[in-house]
Symmetry: C2
Subunit: 324 residues, 2 copies
Amino acid sequence: MRAVCVIGLGLIGGSVLRAATAAGRPGWGATAGADDAVRAGDDGYEVTGIEDALRRAATEDALIVIATPVTAVRDVLRKIAWHAPEARLTDVISVKDAVDAEVRSLLPGARYAGGHPMAGTASSGWAAGGADLFRGSPWAVAVEEGTTLDAWRDAAALALDCGAHVVAVSAAEHDSAVARISHLPHVFANILAAVGADGGPLALSLAAGSFRDSTRVAASEPELVRAMTEGNRVALLDAVDDALGRLGAARGSLASSGALKTTVDGGHAARGELDRLSDGEWTRSTVPLRGDRDLRKLRDLGARGGRVTALTEKAAEVELPATE
Amino acid sequence: MRAVCVIGLGLIGGSVLRAATAAGRPGWGATAGADDAVRAGDDGYEVTGIEDALRRAATEDALIVIATPVTAVRDVLRKIAWHAPEARLTDVISVKDAVDAEVRSLLPGARYAGGHPMAGTASSGWAAGGADLFRGSPWAVAVEEGTTLDAWRDAAALALDCGAHVVAVSAAEHDSAVARISHLPHVFANILAAVGADGGPLALSLAAGSFRDSTRVAASEPELVRAMTEGNRVALLDAVDDALGRLGAARGSLASSGALKTTVDGGHAARGELDRLSDGEWTRSTVPLRGDRDLRKLRDLGARGGRVTALTEKAAEVELPATE
């Protein structure tokens, strides 16, 4: 099994290192966070300086996993270019188009496919992570024009070893989707929390489960939320505009006719789609993987809600929603 | 202990009947929902026609609890006016100003104080309820100009017997607060679900915990959500306008400077206030209750985030946030 070298040992990177080594891979890491480095070392993991970690990755042909905030990516890529210019490389950052462009520009020799595990908590840092964080979760692995089967397989195999299932997706489609289902929910949670707190201590003292649930992610580290949402600006603006249009329409309808039928019925039906998708039946099949072009089949499958659940030498085991 | 007569045996009414009888009170109920009536009867509770239930309430001087959707309140009040015009009366409906006005108009002889338990699930009906639904939750009990200590104590004692703590509040302040911490979260959940589903099966297949949590209440019965939100139109419009302003400002900042600092920092601080309030220390004291005017002290305490945790013959045990 291929070794992993994880750069950044916060919630996500720390969980990747734990999950990958728990699955039997050799693994080591480096981090700019002094606390995370000490804690990871105390927990028995190998933590070195970033240069040493990267040199060792080059020597052992390990998969380098970038798990820093998006704002630190350029700096890390420059270091990789120096120590491991043809590295096997993936990342676990929540925007894909911008990272992909940076890698092409700074590290053209890398064997790269971007990744994004769709799991997390409102807490951050090594101590908040765990080997089971990704179990049963989706993990996007990007298929771009130049993505090779070899590089994609490296990233996808890591995701599967961590207990996730893999959704093949283009970087742009990924960014547009996560703007809607991850970044906009963060913006909404922050706005709801503020509107609630504007109601003073009385409003907060009456807050029940619905308010707690819908503002939970507002407890996340502001720096990380900003890096994530601001880093996906174009796609997020699109999602915010969609939300503004819908909220304005709800306001207009409530003010004029007093009715919220369109909003409530539409939201209920949409949430029903989500539940049907996650609780429903799946149709299984096998997609042969003979060359880079076969990745397009997996990407088409991802666009239809499908996912990869296992990889063999020559094929991917896949599932599609049976209702599809 | 005073008997309770619960009209409406859905999630909330069914849970009130279970909790009140579990606390040792005599109790019976009536409901227009045939399914709920059968299930409650099967579970060993006394369910009769509404006329019989109300006549018995008049005979035994029971506390009548209206637990129907807000749209059915007028009809129920007319029946009470016929069978128990001087009833001890409360309700568990999520808007208070409108219900208060209906009671004054249709049932001027009632000994009424409105209530609203801040607990629930996305499911509805008798089967979804339980005796523990209200344990540890806030339960608003309204203090209006004409509210008597006797009537308020009846409603508050029921809340305490159900395991809740009591927040004394004016009907208008209540409606404004719940618009922010309950009704707007419902609107937001519906809009988020719709924006997510607009991303197609790919977006839904990538949805993780943050999306599930923030759209959870969109799974609620649409009729109930509409009754609740549309029934609090004026206060909800105010909260929606606040949210529209904040979302528009976030959009503008993201588009012009690329930053979401104000939104993210503000939301994080607001969520912190909520956590400090619920996890923090409380200062305990006793408020003597000698007459109707003493209810104002409890209402002032509620406006500062305080709550009533027990009632004795002559006093209320209260708690205030120690940070206050």
